[in-house]
């Protein structure tokens, strides 16, 4: 259970930081187009640095974690299993979580459609909202998987 909590909370934070970094890039970047040329300027601020630094630290931590728990495999991640029971729990948790996330994605799609046709929202704001929603969905997936894994570990 601890290994699942470690990797899923770590991934949820990573997704959140990535979304925040993406929003920051969208907010500060520009593009221009003419008949002769197209310019795209991407500006990366401190949120992107924080995301990259955390990503590096988390990656290293995952490779060191097997020293604490040999059943954790960095390649398997949340599907790491110490035995057949944990393997079954992981598969059931993934199946259940994917159903919930599909619902969230479809709901988000409807929100994006409404915002896109809205006359009051700018392209930039739409991009920021979409990036935030996608990042939040990814974080929700990791945390939902953790909760489902914990629930199945208690009952299976």
């Amino acid at each position: 259970m601890k290994k699942i909590a470690f990797v899923q909370i770590g991934n949820a934070i990573l997704s959140g930081l990535f979304a925040f970094a993406a929003i920051d890039v969208i907010r500060h970047s520009t593009s221009t187009a003419s008949a002769a040329a197209f310019w795209l300027t991407l500006r990366f601020g401190w949120p992107m640095l924080v995301f990259l630094a955390y990503g590096l630290v988390f990656e290293v931590a995952q490779h060191l974690y097997p020293r604490l728990d040999a059943s954790f495999d960095p390649q398997q991640g949340e599907q790491s299993a110490a035995d057949e029971r944990e393997l079954q729990i992981g598969r059931l948790a993934a199946a259940k979580t994917s159903q919930w996330v599909l619902g969230i994605v479809l709901t988000g799609l409807m929100v994006v459609v409404v915002l896109t046709v809205s006359a009051t929202i700018t392209k930039q704001l739409l991009g920021m909202i979409t990036a935030g929603m996608l990042g939040a969905t990814a974080s929700a997936y990791y945390l939902m998987y953790l909760i489902e894994w914990w629930r199945l570990d208690r009952h299976l």
Binding site: A82, D83, E84, R85, D153, H155, L156
Partner: protein, 66 residues
């Protein structure tokens, strides 16, 4: 039909802890706990491994009941 097991009784007859049995068959203690409570149905392979470790015929360890 429900699978019933006597793993706990057979384990205690040998004076083993759940941890000791788990170690011998290569699973976690949590799995042995769950199995003994009837919450987890082991695979055929694990069932045979447990029976072999406890030196009890598998049919004496696991049975089906209405």
């Amino acid at each position: 039909m429900q699978l019933i097991n006597d793993v706990a009784a057979a384990r205690k007859a040998r004076g083993w802890t759940q941890e000791a049995l788990a170690e011998r068959v290569g699973v976690t203690r949590r799995t042995i706990i769950s199995l003994e409570k009837g919450h987890y149905t082991p695979s055929l392979t694990l069932g045979l491994m447990i029976a072999t470790a406890l030196q009890v015929p598998v049919a004496d360890l696991f049975r089906l009941e209405e």
